[in-house]
Each structure stands twice: as C-alpha cells, then as structure tokens.
C-alpha cells in the first residue's frame, strides 16, 4: 500500500509534445488524471515527486487537484527515458476505495532455496502477478517463500498462498513462477571451453 503523502498536482493548460518538453526542462513532469466518469485533467508534479512515486512501487496514491477534493488514484502508467533515469510522464486513474481493480504486482522471492545451496540454478520466470482486489488493498509486492524448493522443484501460481484477503489471482494457475534447475553437466562445460580454441 502507498506510503506517500498527498500529491499536489498543479494544473497545466498547454498540452502536447513541445509544451511537455518545455515543462521537463523546467524540472516538472506532466501528468494526466482520468477515469471514474469525470473529465480528464492535465497537470504537473515536480520531477523529484514523480521519481519518488515511480521508485516507491506505490500502486494507489492520494491526489489533490487544484479546485477539487482529495481523491484516490491508481498509478496507471509510468514513462521513463531511454536509460531509465528520469520519469517523463505519469498517468493516474481515479478509483473508488470500494472498487475492485486489476493490477500487476511484482513478485519478491524470500529466503534461500536448499536446491540453490546444493548447486542448482534458480530460474525466476514470472516477475509480476495479475490480481484483482479492492483499490485500497493493492499490495506493493507479493512475497513468495522459496525455502522448500529442492533441485527439480518448481513453484506455480497456484502455490502462492501469502495473499491479502479478498484478492483474486488472474494469472494462469499452472504458470511457473520459479524453478530450481540442475546445473549444466560436465560434458557441456568441456564443449564450451573447447569453442574459444577453435576460433
């Protein structure tokens, strides 16, 4: 859940590429707020605020638009620059606290698998889970314990038990989240080592 303060959005009248670039040069980030049957609003926040929102991983934030009450919104989209250092644009979607919404939540692996200690390789296939829950209950991350996985074991979406109450998982139940695979055999290692000599 969000730990950020209320985000104050300053309105902007000039929209479009050129105006947005001008705003970014002045240390601001253009944002759009839409949804919930209300008219869309265009505004700006400071670059530091935008960066904090994007890096916190917060899904639901409290917004304060000029001339209106405080409202909850989902961080719908974050646009980064090519090198992933600056936030270029933010999209917020207004939500009701009692509304059920779909969200992609990152999966965080907890603990060390015995299979990895035994020499196996950890293959993390699914990095985010699609869930449906109340807008105010969207978790920042989903913790998955892997302390029971041995070599050859795999953990599926259906095995994830540590979910907030009232959450429905929309990702396919048979999808593999993480598996411990056997390390490559000695034969493969010799073949790889021989290759540079042949070049």
């Amino acid at each position: 859940m969000s730990t950020l303060d209320v985000i104050a959005i300053q309105p902007r009248t000039n929209i479009g590429t050129t105006a947005s670039r001008r705003l970014r040069r002045d240390g601001l980030v253009p944002v759009n707020v839409y949804g919930h049957g209300e008219k869309e609003a265009f505004g700006t926040v400071g670059a530091d605020v935008a960066s904090a929102i994007a890096r916190s991983g917060a899904k639901v934030v409290d917004l304060k638009l000029e001339g209106s009450d405080e409202q909850k919104a989902i961080v719908r989209e974050v646009q980064w620059d090519t090198f992933g250092t600056h936030v270029l644009h933010l999209d917020f979607m207004r939500v009701d606290a009692t509304q059920r919404v779909t969200a992609h939540v990152p999966i965080h692996l907890r603990g060390t698998a015995p299979g990895v200690i035994a020499g196996g390789r950890l293959d993390h296939h699914l990095h985010s889970l699609t869930i449906e829950c109340l807008a105010v209950q969207i978790p920042t991350e989903i913790n998955v314990r892997i302390t029971s996985l041995k070599i050859g074991d795999s953990l599926h979406v259906s095995d994830i038990a540590d979910l907030p109450p009232g959450t429905t998982v929309l990702s396919p139940a048979d999808e593999v989240v993480v598996q411990i695979v056997e390390p490559k055999g000695e034969a493969d290692a010799t073949e790889e080592a021989a290759e540079p000599a042949g070049e």
């Binding site: 890096r55 980064w80 090519t82 090198f83």
Partner: protein
Amino acid sequence: MALMPKRVKHRKSQRGRIRGNATRGNTVVFGEFGLQSVDAGHVSATTIEACRIAANQYIRGVGGKLYIRIFPDKSVTARPLETRMGKGKGEPDHWVAVVRPGTVLFEVAGASLDAARDCFNRVSHKLPIRVRMVERRPGT
C-alpha cells in the same frame, strides 16, 4: 557457430546511419541485471559469440543464466584483398547487430549483484562500445 540469419530477403544492405536512442529493447526483461549500451554502434556476430563464451565461462561457476538480447541481422560487405575499385559492391563478409544508446545487450538471471558485475566486466572488455550495468526497474 556465430549468430546469423537463416534466410534474408536481400543479401546486401546499405550502411545507414544510427540516429537517436533505443525506444525498444531498452529495459531488463528476462533477468535481474542487464548490460546497457551508452554509445551507438555495430556489434559483430563474432563479438557477440566472444561475449557469450566469456560470460558463460564465468557464470557457470557462480550459477546463473545469460540472455543475449541482440541479434546480428545486418550484413556487411567487403571487397577481396588486392582488387581494384569498381566492378560493383563487394560480397557479404560478416553480420552485425545495430545498437543504439540504451539497448540492453545482455542480461543475467539467478546471480548475485557482485557476480553479475564481474560477469559484465569481462563482457564489456570485448565490446566496441561503452556500456553500463543496469538493474531491473522497480515494480516490474
């Protein structure tokens, strides 16, 4: 065997210019760490192969998996040695991947931060362009 396309529509291509930054293939998708280019340039198939071998030799010891995110799909022609100019364009000589600033070249999964850093350090010495290490973006 170095990477090359199985079949192409046209054997020879014009050199072209590399303009702008990468707008696709610029995020870490498969692993936890990636090697991102800072410069624009061409990376040949033999260079990619050399990087693959160097990375795999290291990563096998620490446990992890390497992903190659670029593919050499552009042919580069060359003239035979000691031939006069003219008589048309040369024959395809090798294959290169076109790399823009921001392109993620390689990714490593299942390895620690230090192991990934060491691995990419070995790889970076084989590349003709400047690179930097990046982590998966928060919340993805």
